[in-house]
């Protein structure tokens, strides 16, 4: 990065290293999908992912066949793994758009080598998340009733319900993210078309690249479309998880009914999204030897964002506890004490450890640049964010207002099968993605190279 503003600062580590030319960049980016041979590692990983995906089919089949009773949900705890996983996946699905859209708008050039991958990850995470609203329904064959479609009975969904807002928020987000991702892919798809030698592959890339010829008019329109989509995506990044947080904040359950939820959820989403990007990118960049494109600088920057959003989330935890005491509300106070010392206390303290304490290691540059450490921390954060949703949903519901109704929630093997199954779906899609599409935005890297050359 050699922006003129940076002149007075100490030189920044580069975001593109190595002796690259336009050609070598293209070759490198395109070589992974176009390699006719599957590497052993890829096959191995894909098989694991695909078997978990198979597990998902089984889990879904069983839930549809028997009913949601196969899960551990009970009477006071009407939502369990279904909604925990939903919120977790939606959260993960925030990093991509954040990186692509917001960092694009604020002209953070280091985003270019990771945005494609992060966006793909977003889409896949949203796909996983999108399953759960359907699966969690008692009568999933009636799921289409949540959409506002004209009908002879004049029946509409209940627009008061945060679940309906969810339907709109998630479907809008999924649509815009998919478009944004695809528009960004087009020039690279054309490169793939040009590089592919095997005819059928060439034809597929040709169709997907929609006649891109790299004309200046194409570029002009493409840049404009990309900018507009970035502009549209930006508020969505903030709104989606705000709306998801409304599922809880709009209720009256102590532990849910909290005004801090929207910002706290958004921060948590970006936190977990970046953690997931780190979890996936660190091994991939090593495996595909992409260290010159995804440099230590990238990892460092992402770690810093993780640390910052981690503190926002941690602030949320502190405010929740403070308000429980400060409000003087009997139910809030009990809820907080129950979280800290009730049957699920280990989960709460594990959450504080994972999301509050361990990420503090990221203050140290040596940690941020130690790939093993940072990879482990990113996994801890993923677990922590899952625990956060568990704590919010389960501990709030299992002991709310009337003590006679209190009960314990324990997930069953089908809960775990569904959860692991969606991880399988996610990884399967990731594996397919890195095998068939350029995971680094080649044309944007070339732009970087162009800038570098210009300033040299």
């Amino acid at each position: 990065m050699s922006n003129s503003h940076d002149k007075h600062h100490e030189p920044q580590p580069p975001v593109l290293t190595g002796q690259h030319t336009y050609g070598s960049l293209s070759d490198k980016v395109a070589s992974i999908p176009l390699d006719p041979k599957h590497s052993k590692g890829w096959i191995f990983g894909f098989l694991i992912a695909f078997s978990l995906f198979g597990l998902l089919h089984m889990a879904i089949g069983w839930v549809f066949f028997k009913g949601v009773g196969v899960w551990g949900i009970t009477n006071p705890v009407g939502w369990g793994f279904d909604i925990i996983n939903f919120v977790w996946w939606v959260g993960i699905g925030h990093a991509g758009t954040f990186i692509s859209a917001i960092l694009f708008l604020v002209k953070q050039q280091w985003r270019t080598s990771i945005n494609r991958f992060a966006e793909a990850m977003t889409l896949f995470a949203v796909a996983c998340a999108g399953l759960f609203p359907l699966l969690h329904m008692g009568r999933p064959w009636r799921a289409w009733w949540v959409f506002p479609y004209p009908n002879t009975m004049g029946l509409w969904p209940n627009f008061h319900s945060p679940l309906i807002w969810d339907v709109f928020a998630i479907s809008t987000y999924a649509t815009v993210s998919a478009l944004f991702w695809y528009v960004g892919l087009i020039p690279d798809l054309a490169t793939m078309r040009d590089k592919a030698t095997f005819k059928p592959v060439k034809m597929i890339y040709a169709m997907l690249s929609m006649g891109w010829r790299g004309a200046a008019s194409h570029w002009e329109r493409h840049q404009m479309a990309y900018l507009l989509l970035a502009g549209m995506s930006t508020p969505l990044v903030l709104s989606v998880h705000t709306v998801v947080s409304f599922d809880f904040a709009m209720s009256l359950i102590p532990g849910w009914h909290t005004t801090v939820f929207p910002p706290y959820f958004v921060a948590g989403a970006i936190f977990s999204g970046f953690a997931m990007v780190l979890t996936l990118l660190i091994p991939i960049r090593k495996f595909y030897n992409l260290k010159d494109m995804i440099t230590d600088k990238h990892i460092d920057n992402m770690a810093k964002i993780t640390l910052a959003t981690g503190w926002m989330v941690f602030y949320g935890y502190i405010i929740e506890a403070f308000m429980a005491w400060y409000s003087g509300n009997q139910f809030e106070g009990f809820m907080m004490l129950n979280r800290m010392s009730g049957p699920y206390a280990p989960f709460y303290w594990a959450l504080i450890l994972c999301n509050g304490i361990i990420p503090q290691l990221l203050w140290f540059k040596r940690v941020r640049l130690n790939m093993l450490f940072i990879w482990l921390i990113s996994i801890v954060v993923n677990i922590g964010m899952w625990l956060e949703r568990f704590v919010i949903i389960v501990t709030s519901l299992h002991r709310d207002f009337v003590p006679s109704a209190w009960d314990i929630y324990t997930p069953t093997k089908w809960d775990w099968a569904t959860f692991l199954g969606t991880i399988g779906l996610f990884l399967t899609l990731i594996f397919l993605f890195i095998r068939v599409l350029p995971m680094v935005a080649g044309f944007e890297m070339k732009e970087l190279l162009h800038h570098r050359k210009k300033h040299q």
Binding site: G69, G138, L397, F401, V402
Partner: protein, 1020 residues
């Protein structure tokens, strides 16, 4: 190929011998018949060849060929069988009373352990669907308890025995009658010396007269009555005091001070419904006053907490064997000439004794002492003496002849029967509606001895443990299919009339007794009708008696017996000190002694005190549990582990027999004492009952039927999961139940409002409830002051609203479906002597219902009459509404919980939708009943009258604790309740504006005993 087995040819020479050995003229139809081969037996005994057992058996090739052969042979015969007439002609003229869609109500009686509870049966197009109390009946007054109401499920139980069987093979009633007739012919020669008839407690005058006739025909025969829970002690106590048996009946409404001794008299046993009503009527309060003028005061001394104990103002936990000593001490204070040893009473217990004695003395003639049937004869004799001494006899307690036509010492009788059986004196044993193999004292070893009788015939609803060991089993008719009669606790006769034609080939004890009397073929209808026509003048008016369900003026006249010259207060033998643990045998609060064990409603109804379902537990006090080595870790698990509630399994050994069951900590249980509940551990009942719980009968001996001391208890190291619907007993300072003493109430009638400082309602431009424009605004009030926590409302609701049962596994998962639950909380600071309170919780029908805005599809919405409606058709099952319900009254169909057994379909209330999987449901204030009344009112062009709509829970409540109606009409009962100072809503600070509100609970403690209790009340 294997060598082919030779066919079994008829052995001519053997056959000839056999025919010669027979006496008299015998007809034989074929050589096969004469040879009496097993093949022929099956052939002739099966009127219906499609006997399922043949198919279930593993079939060998040989069997297969035999079967094929017999099928070909029988295929021709089947066409000859005369099919029963079945009329399927639609009405040409509609019967006058029958309007499709409108139920009819018929009066009949439900006999509970023999004693009648008058009921009205709701019948839809000929199908009984629901049971309600008969207002004209003295032991119902319109209410019905859990057993009575759930009996309708037994009628449709798919596990019921459906036909007569002979040695396990399908047979017919005619064949049975013929077989029994032949045996009776033989008995005639011996004057019935080898004939025994075993029945439960018979309170049916007709059946008793029939059986007495039998004894006339067979003078040396014996009729034995045995019920596992009986009034042997009460009978013996009366004989000790009066010299003969009298039945005590209580005028609870006249008593200011009541002392009960191990008696659950307002919840179980004959008269309990009436006693509960009378008890509650003395406690009802409105407008700062007790309506009856003065609130009664109830002292309960008991070993294991019961409904009566939890309703008491003072409750003392005392091991069963110590209660006699307690009463001796009390009697000596009140002038009965007995010597009491008070050395083993604690100071607290002595304080209790003095206070109770003083209180009783101050209310002479207006006090009452009630002894429980499980207590010793001495306790009963002392209770009679005390009631007499206090001037209560003839006032609060009256005496009549025993209600049973023939009162027997049942334990002694069955002991003699067992001895006779063992001695081979019994040839023919008729068992009518009893299951002694399971429920007779186990030391008698009845099952084994019974096999000595050559002819054993059993009549029962199920092919149970006893039926299995009998040659003949006759399927009994359910009482809703039967003619019969029974007396209530006061002697009032109720006629039992069938509401439906027998679903199977059921017969009644009256039918069997007719065979014994030597008049087979006379219908039970004729027998009952003839009996009553011959008895009283009131009996003449048959149609009126059927219509009313009771025969007027048949209550027994009150007697004024004088005590025997030297009443016998001889104490029962006392156990030696440190002689081990006391074991109390109690009928299960829901399924009694096992006769209703296959009733899923009763199994799933949480037991009033423990909230346990689908199991019997061993109740122990916290301290005693510690002594047994049930550590804090165990109890933590029990307290908070919810669905994985692990209960330590303990072994109780006594007299060489032992049982193992899960220990359940019951605060308020007596120390060094455990209570085991009878009725579980069934092996041959049905799908519901078989294999659940432990068999407490295994420990019960004829010498110690109610409690025994000296048992040894040990941990087994094993755990069981017990499905309890309420794991948390503390109210956590949430003021869900508000309570004060009667004195405080008199000085401060608004205490319920002032107990909690609700925040000011939110500022709003809207007038609360202004969107509710309906002409009627429905509301409900529940009077916690009179609610005793019996659970009748839950069963009424289940029956009315087609609520499914979910089974133990799902209850463990917290998925029970009851729309109205009865919460139980422990109160006070003393873990060993808590106060136990109950609170029924239906849907609150909040005006600002939190469940409504969150539903994504608008499946739950508000009616303009203030109902929080649930549209099952529209529900997609997101469960958000249930999450957002602060009262947690919404119930979700996690699976398809509906049992689709064909017979159960007949039972469903056609006015209420049967819900499918994935749908949310909850209390609707019985909207179907509201709509019915609305239609009537519209037709007559008038407003709906107050009291015209009665919800199912309200209708059945024995203490009339529930009021329902239009809160907009200030003169309605419910509006008056809501205006009362006792009225409060729960969790109103959430702004939900609940339409269901509560009337606060009042207690009437004795100030002398209150100091400690008052301290505890601070912690409420």
């Amino acid at each position: 190929m294997r060598e082919q087995e030779k066919p079994n040819p008829v052995d001519i020479s053997q056959l000839r011998e056999k025919l010669q050995s027979k006496s008299g003229s015998e007809y034989w139809r074929s050589l096969e018949q004469a040879a009496d081969t097993p093949e022929f037996k099956t052939w002739v005994q099966h009127e219906f060849p499609n006997e399922p057992e043949l198919w279930n058996r593993g079939t060998t090739r040989r069997d297969f060929l035999q079967l094929m052969g017999s099928m070909i042979a029988l295929a021709g015969l089947a066409g000859c069988t005369r099919q029963p007439d079945e009329k399927i002609i639609p009405y040409v003229k509609q019967p006058e009373d029958l309007v499709p869609g409108r139920p009819l109500y018929f009066a009949t009686s439900f006999a509970q352990n023999g004693f009648a509870r008058g009921i009205l049966v709701e019948s839809h197009m000929g199908r009984p669907t629901k049971i309600e109390g008969n207002p004209a009946h003295p032991d119902s007054l319109g209410a019905a308890d859990i057993l009575t109401q759930s009996s309708v499920l037994d009628l449709y139980d798919p596990d019921r025995s459906k036909t007569t069987t002979d040695s396990g093979m399908v047979s017919t009633w005619t064949a049975f009658a013929a077989a029994a007739g032949r045996r009776l012919e033989l008995q005639k020669f011996k004057e019935g010396e080898g004939l025994r008839v075993l029945t439960g407690t018979v309170v049916s005058p007709t059946l008793a007269s029939q059986l007495q006739n039998v004894l006339k025909v067979f003078p040396k025969a014996k009729w034995i009555q045995y019920s596992a829970v009986n009034r042997d002690n009460a009978r013996e106590g009366a004989i000790r005091f009066f010299g003969q048996d009298y039945a005590a009946r209580y005028h609870v409404s006249l008593a200011d001070v009541i002392l009960t001794l191990d008696s659950d008299f307002i919840n179980a046993g004959p008269g309990s419904m009436r006693y509960a009503r009378d008890f509650a009527d003395r406690r009802r309060a409105r407008g700062g006053k007790i309506i009856s003028g003065k609130m009664n005061r109830l002292y309960a001394v008991e070993s294991s907490p019961t409904i009566t104990g939890t309703s008491a103002d003072h409750r003392l936990a005392l091991a069963s064997f110590r209660i006699e000593g307690f009463l001796m001490a009390l009697a000596s204070r009140l002038g009965v000439p007995v010597k009491a040893d008070e050395s083993n009473f604690s100071e607290e217990e002595k304080r209790w004794l003095n206070a109770v004695a003083k209180d009783l003395k101050s209310r002479k003639g207006r006090s009452l002492i009630v002894a429980g049937d499980s207590q010793s004869p001495a306790v009963h004799a002392l209770a009679h003496a005390l009631n007499r001494e206090l001037g209560n006899a003839g006032k609060t307690v009256v005496y009549t002849d025993p209600i049973e036509p023939v009162s027997q010492d049942q334990t002694a009788a069955i002991r003699v029967l067992a001895a006779d059986l063992a001695a081979g004196k019994v040839d023919d044993l008729f068992l009518l509606g009893v299951n002694p193999v399971y429920d007779a004292p186990r030391d008698l070893n009845f099952g084994e001895k019974m096999l000595r009788a050559g002819f054993r015939a059993h009549l029962g609803l199920y092919e149970d443990e006893t039926a299995r060991l009998c040659q003949w089993h006759v399927a009994a008719a359910h009482y809703l299919e039967s003619w019969g009669d029974a007396r209530a606790f006061d002697g009032t006769v109720g006629i039992i009339q069938p509401i439906i034609h027998p679903l199977y080939e059921g017969k009644t004890p009256i039918d069997v007794a007719a065979i014994l009397e030597g008049r087979p073929g006379v219908s039970s209808y004729q027998i009952v009708k003839d009996y009553w026509k011959s008895q009283t003048t009131a009996g003449q008016n048959w149609d009126k008696n059927l219509h009313d369900g009771v025969i007027a003026a048949t209550a027994f006249e009150e007697k004024n017996p004088s005590p025997a010259a030297a009443p016998n207060f001889k104490p029962s033998p006392r156990p030696a000190d440190g002689a081990g643990v006391e074991v109390n045998f109690r009928p299960d609060p829901n399924i009694g002694t096992g006769e209703t064990a296959n009733n899923a409603w009763l199994q799933e109804l949480p037991k009033a005190i423990t909230r346990v379902t689908w199991d019997n537990i061993i109740a122990v006090s916290p301290k005693t549990a510690e002594k047994f080595g049930i550590t804090k870790k165990d109890s933590d698990q029990i307290e908070s582990a919810g669905r994985f509630a692990h209960s330590a399994i303990i072994r109780i050994e006594f007299d060489g027999r032992s049982i193992e069951g899960p220990a359940w900590i019951v605060p308020g249980h007596a120390e060094d004492s455990v209570t085991v509940y009878l009725g579980y551990g069934r092996t041959h009942s049905g799908h519901i009952a078989n294999g659940i719980g432990y068999d407490a009968f295994a420990l019960r001996a004829s010498t110690a039927a109610n409690f025994t001391t000296g048992a040894k208890v040990s941990r087994t190291g094993k755990y069981a999961s017990v499905a309890s619907t309420q794991d948390h007993g503390s109210m956590e300072d949430r003021h869900l139940i508000r309570e004060a003493t009667a004195d405080d109430y008199a000085h401060h009638p608004e205490f319920a409002q002032h107990l909690v400082h609700d925040p000011k309602p939110n500022e709003t431009l809207f007038k609360p409830g202004e969107h509710l424009k309906g002409e009627n605004q429905w509301g409900m009030s529940i009077d916690l002051n009179t609610c005793i926590g019996c659970g009748a409302c839950t069963i009424a609701c289940q029956s009315e609203n087609n609520i499914p049962v979910v089974g133990k596994k799902n209850v463990l998962n917290g998925r029970e479906m009851h729309w109205i639950r009865v919460d139980r909380y422990f109160e006070g600071s003393d873990l060993d002597a808590p106060r136990i309170v109950h609170q029924p919780v239906p849907c609150m029908q909040c005006e600002n219902a939190p469940c409504e805005p969150v539903c994504p599809v608008g499946a739950t919405s508000h009616s303009d009459e203030g109902l929080n409606d649930m549209v099952y058709n529209r529900c997609v099952g997101t469960r958000y509404c249930a999450n957002n319900c602060p009262y947690k009254v919404r119930r979700f169909n996690f699976y398809n919980f509906v049992d689709d057994a064909p017979s159960l379909k007949l039972m469903r209330n056609p006015d209420v939708t049967v819900r499918t999987r994935g749908v949310m449901e909850k209390c609707t204030y019985c909207v179907q009943r509201i709509n019915l009344a609305r239609i009537d009112a519209k037709k007559e062009d008038r407003p709906i009258r107050d009291g015209e709509i009665v919800t199912a829970c309200q209708q059945t409540c024995p203490t009339q604790a529930i009021n329902f109606g239009n809160i907009k009409d200030p003169s309605s009962a419910v509006a008056r309740d809501k205006a009362d100072s006792l009225n409060y809503g729960i969790l109103t600070d959430l702004g939900t504006r609940p339409r269901t509100t509560y009337l606060a609970r009042l207690r009437n403690p004795n100030p002398e005993l209150e100091s400690k209790a008052a301290e505890a009340a601070q912690h409420v």
